[in-house]
């Protein structure tokens, strides 16, 4: 009995240590973002931002082109997921509901496309885009991110469609619904949560992407938020408060979206491995 409680205590002790280690960088970011400059540049760190200030956030938002960066990031991410959902839903529903010749081959292609090493395609995609009017324009990133997220979108949506009982559609069609009608009135409402979850993954991918955004855009006003944040040394100098406020602002939307879909993250990525 005594050994059991002491073991429990030891485990809890380790758990608290792990909690502290993993929460600390995040806590330190938010903490620093709310500190006054004189509370940041201290040799003995202050563990609470007291008195708190919003000046750092004002500094970050007030930086030249901040609204451009924000607009670019939102525009690119939103358009990417809209495109991917439109084209991906079409393919996903077809693959899930229609048995056609070449279906397996198509699924294999989607799986392969999902594993494409996009880091290695930077140079050819760059050279192709250079020859188009999209060169050095923000929409060129939409093209790139769209192809990043499309395979995953199809794969994920197909799983959600598979989860909707086919009897429901058949019943609707017997009751006089056309195939498209059955899709609109039966599948679509049930698929909506799956579409939201899938869109969130796409959004996070596009919002966070750095390599292509950094390499493709030469004009400052075309940068996205991660490119701006990565250049904090140029933009903020040693203003760590401003840097952490910028990091917090950039992270907030991702965090909110991530929390919505977090329970789907693990299963989605290793699906099939457990069943073995």
């Amino acid at each position: 009995m005594n050994a059991l409680t002491s073991r429990r205590a030891a485990l809890n002790g380790v758990a608290v240590a792990i909690f502290a280690m993993w929460a600390f960088p995040f806590y330190w970011m938010v903490n620093s973002a709310f500190k006054r400059p004189e509370d940041i540049q201290t040799y003995v760190p202050r563990f609470l931002p007291w008195p708190p200030t919003l000046d750092n956030f004002a500094n970050a938002i007030g930086q030249p082109h901040f609204t451009d960066f924000l607009r670019n990031s939102v525009f690119v991410a939103a358009t990417t997921i809209a495109l991917a959902l439109l084209i991906g839903t079409l393919a996903a529903v077809t693959v899930a509901r229609v048995r056609f010749r070449g279906r397996r081959g198509f699924l294999l292609l989607v799986a392969i496309a999902q594993m494409a090493p996009f880091e290695g395609l930077l140079i050819p995609i760059y050279l192709v885009i250079r020859q188009t009017p999209l060169y050095n324009q923000v929409p060129s990133l939409i093209v790139v991110y769209f192809i990043f997220v499309l395979p995953f979108t199809i794969w994920s949506l197909r799983g959600f469609v598979d989860g909707i009982p086919i009897d429901l559609e058949e019943a609707a069609m017997v009751d006089g619904c056309s195939r498209l009608g059955a899709f609109r009135h039966v599948i679509l409402p049930l698929l909506l949560p799956g579409m939201v979850a899938t869109a969130i993954f796409g959004f996070i991918t596009a919002w966070n992407e750095f390599l292509y955004a950094n390499a493709f855009m030469t004009d400052v006003q075309n940068h996205t938020l991660p490119v701006w944040l990565s250049a904090f040394r140029t933009n903020f100098g040693v203003d760590w408060g401003g840097t952490m406020a910028a990091a917090t602002l950039f992270t907030l939307p991702v965090l909110i979206f991530f929390l919505i879909v977090q329970d789907r993250m693990v299963g989605g990525l290793t699906a099939g491995a457990v069943k073995g």
């Binding site: 929460a23 290695g120 192809i147 006089g176």
Partner: protein, 324 residues
């Protein structure tokens, strides 16, 4: 014409009409029904072919060409056979980079897997509330964008006001860290990069292992306990074999991610100091985007993918075997 019948098939036909006598219209509709799935996947296929297939083909072609700044502005690229590859493998500096990339990958994959598995096992042994507490911290770290992670860790490890140097100074075990600069040498820069990557990648491994543990039937442990097995035996004979497939796929994914990693290293010190944290992906970027030697950069990309495939062959084979 085909398009219109196909969409007509999707939208207006109802079941009754379809079952009617074969009229010419019905024949058109049946053709439409057969064509419809292909029309539905056409945009995806076109995307794969044009936006993915073409660049993949182009990167291979480029790797055999001289394609520099002049070619970018109109000069026809010339075929130079294996010269780009010869330049890569004939360069001792590149061999150092390859070696460094492998060491970095091995260290990161091993650490991620070990720490992640241990935390996953820990999660399964915790009470509900404290498990939730740890999970929240893990999810936070996981959700944070890579660039944010990089910026925050540079602040944590700042030489003057960084909290890490202060903490190390306070415990007085490792000596004096006043104004210690972590980014002066490649090795300590890698330490910071690896810590940041562990912070962000361990949660996924931990949660996957935890989920895998949950799928092991409890009866197995009970039966083993009845048979007199101790904890260690149960781990070796039940837990570990059940986790093996999941650990395999996690190793596979981690190897792919860590081998190609770019943003984490680039945003930290752009491969510095003195190119001492330059891995293959950084090298490809510097040669191509910064150096305008697109053919050579394409060859580096091809070498990277080839090396990755070679490394992953045993995993892929074992995964196929477990699938069967």
């Amino acid at each position: 014409m085909v398009m219109r019948t196909a969409s007509g098939d999707l939208s207006s036909d109802d079941v009754v009409k379809r079952r009617g006598a074969p009229t010419p219209l019905a024949t058109v509709a049946s053709v439409g029904r057969r064509v419809a799935p292909y029309l539905a996947i056409l945009p995806t296929m076109a995307t794969f072919l044009v936006l993915l297939g073409y660049p993949v083909a182009l990167v291979v072609v480029l790797s055999f060409q001289k394609y520099n700044l002049a070619e970018l502005f109109g000069r026809a690229p010339s075929w130079i056979g294996l010269d780009n590859y010869r330049e890569i493998f004939g360069n001792p500096q590149v061999l150092t980079i390859v070696l460094r990339t492998f060491l970095f990958t091995i260290a990161n994959v091993a650490l991620t897997l070990v720490v992640g598995t241990l935390i996953g096992l820990l999660l399964s042994r915790l009470g509900r509330w404290i498990r939730m507490l740890v999970s929240i911290a893990l999810i936070l770290a996981w959700a944070v964008p890579v660039v944010t992670g990089s910026v925050v860790f540079q602040w944590l490890f700042d030489s003057k006001f960084g909290v890490v140097n202060w903490a190390l100074n306070s415990i007085r075990v490792f000596g004096d860290f006043t104004n210690h600069s972590w980014f002066d040498t490649g090795l300590t820069t890698f330490v910071v990069i690896t810590m940041m990557m562990l912070w962000q990648t361990v949660p996924f491994v931990a949660f996957s292992v935890f989920a895998g543990l949950g799928s092991i039937p409890k009866e197995q442990f009970e039966a083993a306990r009845v048979d007199g097995a101790d904890e260690r035996q149960m781990f070796r004979l039940i837990t570990f074999p059940s986790l093996a497939p999941i650990l395999l796929i996690l190793t596979f994914l981690s190897t792919i991610w860590d081998f190609k990693v770019f943003t984490q290293i680039w945003t930290m010190r752009q491969g510095g100091p003195n190119n001492e944290t330059e891995t293959l992906s950084i090298y490809a970027y510097q040669v191509g985007v910064a150096g305008n030697r697109f053919g050579l950069a394409a060859a580096v990309s091809c070498v990277m993918v080839a090396l990755l495939l070679i490394v992953l062959v045993p995993y892929i084979r074992r995964m196929i075997r477990t699938q069967e």
